[in-house]
């Protein structure tokens, strides 16, 4: 067990190192002066700043020395300075992390809870209404661009039925204690979370349905029925728990695409998270921030994968003992 954890940690460390090396390579491979890339094109960097960057990053030294300098700094949490925002990149990213995690977690929870329920419902009758709904939903969820779904919701709820706010996270005008603030954020969260969640709701309901149909044909379900377990129990406990495993695995594996979706959804709803930051810094050609966000979101994906692994082991004791 201890050995397995150690191996896992080493593997994660190697992944993180690889991401940093990739970031470094991208800066090197980009056309133009690396100092300019580090400063960002529109960062208002003057000759003095450029000279400081050359000195600090050792740009006159051999490439390997530069790589070592880069890695050393990154491992100390120094991801460079955004000359556009005039702040350290790490600090900038941390200030935007909360809203993104809130959005992604809400969307994911919504998709998982409703999606798995819907899939289970559909599996009771493979040709019933719920099954048809799952099929249509998964087709629409796969085919509609997520940012477009968001814009359509903006038209619906911004112009036609103004029920929910369509931009930002907090109403500046509104006053109130912590509870009022939380409610305000929740109110703003509805549309972005719904937009992002619908894509995954569609996938998880289809996946749950398929997994349930497979599990329901298994021998242990027949055994459970034979010994008189109620149909409710068969579905809810014996089958559902086992059908959940592939859904959790896929949800965890997809974390990178969920973050990608969040970038688009945040841009649509001006949600003040990492996605809008990425979008703005790309428009400003603020490369250190962009690279920092790439590194940071990769870290989030790695952590999410570790968590998924852990949850899968909880769901399936067979995995617990290692392979």
């Amino acid at each position: 067990m201890f050995k397995a954890i150690l191996r896992q940690l080493l593997y994660v460390a190697a992944l993180i190192l690889a991401v940093l090396v990739l970031n470094f390579l991208l800066i090197q491979l980009a056309p133009g002066d690396p100092a300019e890339v580090i400063a960002g094109e529109m960062g208002g960097a003057n000759a003095e700043v450029m000279a400081a960057i050359r000195e600090q990053y050792g740009l006159d030294k051999p490439v390997l020395t530069q790589l070592a300098l880069y890695l050393g700094r990154a491992l100390q949490g120094d991801l460079g300075t955004s000359y556009f925002y005039n702040r350290p990149v790490a600090e900038l990213i941390l200030s935007r992390l909360g809203p993104t995690l809130l959005l992604v977690a809400t969307a994911l929870a919504f998709a998982l809870i409703i999606g798995t329920r819907l899939g289970m419902l559909a599996s009771r009758n493979p040709r019933g209404i719920a099954s048809a709904l799952v099929t249509v939903l998964s087709l629409v969820g796969y085919s509609a661009p997520v940012f477009w779904t968001g814009l359509m919701l903006v038209i619906l709820f911004g112009a036609t039925i103004p029920l929910f706010p369509i931009a930002g996270m907090i109403d500046v005008v509104k006053q109130g204690g912590p509870l009022g603030r939380a409610l305000d954020i929740a109110h703003h969260l509805v549309l972005p979370a719904l937009t992002l969640g619908l894509v995954y709701l569609a996938q998880y309901s289809r996946l749950t349905r398929a997994a349930m149909l497979e599990v329901l044909g298994a021998d242990y379900i027949r055994t459970a029925r034979a010994k008189g377990v109620s149909e409710r129990q068969v579905f809810g406990r014996h089958a559902f728990r086992n059908a959940l495993l592939p859904v959790v695995t896929v949800a965890g594996m997809q974390f990178g695409t969920i973050i990608s979706g969040a970038v688009l959804v945040e841009t649509v709803f001006s949600w003040p998270g990492l996605g809008t930051l990425a979008f703005q810094s790309i428009l400003a050609r603020d490369y250190p921030t962009v690279m920092g966000i790439l590194f940071f979101s990769t870290l989030i994906v790695i952590i999410a994968n570790l968590l998924t692994d852990f949850i899968s082991r909880l769901l399936d004791p067979r995995l617990a003992g290692g392979r």
């Binding site: 992944l15 980009a30 509609a144 661009p145 149909l213 990178g256 990608s260 990425a278 790309i282 050609r285």
Partner: protein, 292 residues
């Protein structure tokens, strides 16, 4: 000894013909094919039938559809013809979608084939690389690549290909692992066929059905990806595309619904067509899986 009785043996049919038979009978799959055909027809024949430059300012900005007979679908915020944009934009979107899918399949199949065929150390190494690319958030990585280098159509397609291949590689690998242990592969080896021969001429053709399904879905995914990038303003600004139209029309959303709704509907219908075809192919190649 009497001559064996003559029986009429039905002409032997290839697996592809059989798959087509199943495909043909599925209304959903045929609807998908029809949608896709219409979209391709529109982008190929459209420019000849409707000769308007999508970048040219033809009328007052934000004219609603149907208000002016010569501009059936209205104009955007600059007064450019939306219909012309839809026709021209489809070409870029489809071109990037197809080439990105091609790049994805090329990288994915080669890496997956070698990993699955050789196993052991080669497999371990290639799978670590695959896992590494799998933890990169695809859109963010593509955004970085396109920003650092030039956002030409080729770079956009390359960026999408680079972030999308791991899934194809995993699928190819598992197919190769399954097929390499089958008897006809051993037979080929006994006859003295080389590795390259076995990989590309014996195993690959037999692994094709799931790969074709995956390639179809990859095209749909690549189109959505391209749309997302151009929506963010990261595609070639000199080439009209559906995503670009949505991105520029976004600010006028509440006054002019058609500017974003129409190109979005085109993307939706195209990807819907592709995914219906993909599902149909899946059923056609695995008839016993249809219940799912």
């Amino acid at each position: 000894m009497t001559a064996p009785a003559r029986t009429t043996v039905p002409a032997a049919r290839g697996p592809m013909a059989e798959a087509w038979d199943i495909f043909r009978r599925s209304p959903a799959a045929m609807l998908g094919l029809l949608l896709l055909g219409l979209v391709i027809l529109m982008t190929v024949a459209g420019p000849f039938l409707y000769q308007v430059d999508p970048f040219e300012i033809v009328w007052a900005p934000l004219t609603p559809p149907g208000e002016e007979a010569t501009i059936p679908l209205g104009t955007d915020n600059l007064g450019r013809d939306i219909l012309a944009g839809l026709i021209e934009g489809g070409r870029a979107t489809l071109a990037v979608g197809f080439s990105a899918a091609l790049i994805t399949m090329l990288i994915g199949v080669v890496i997956g084939a070698y990993a699955g065929f050789y196993g052991g150390f080669v497999d371990d190494m290639l799978m670590r690389v695959t896992e590494f690319f799998q933890v990169l958030p695809p859109l963010l990585f593509a955004m970085v690549v396109v920003t650092l280098f030039q956002p030409t159509l080729i770079n956009v397609a390359l960026a999408i290909g680079i972030v999308s291949w791991p899934q194809t590689a995993r699928l190819t690998r598992s197919e190769f692992r399954r097929i390499r242990t089958l008897e006809y592969v051993s037979a080929m080896r006994a006859v003295g066929a080389g590795d390259g021969n076995i990989i590309w001429r014996v195993i690959l053709p037999n692994a094709l059905p799931p790969l074709i399904v995956s390639a179809t879905l990859t095209i749909g995914m690549a189109i959505l990806f391209e749309a997302g990038l151009s929506f963010l303003g990261l595609s070639d600004p000199n080439v009209m595309s559906w995503g670009l139209m949505i991105g520029t029309g976004r600010e006028y959303l509440l006054d002019a619904w058609w500017v974003v709704t129409l190109p979005g509907t085109m993307i939706f219908l195209t990807v819907l067509g592709i995914s219906l075809v993909g599902d149909g192919l899946n059923d056609a190649f695995n008839p016993w899986m249809r219940e799912r």
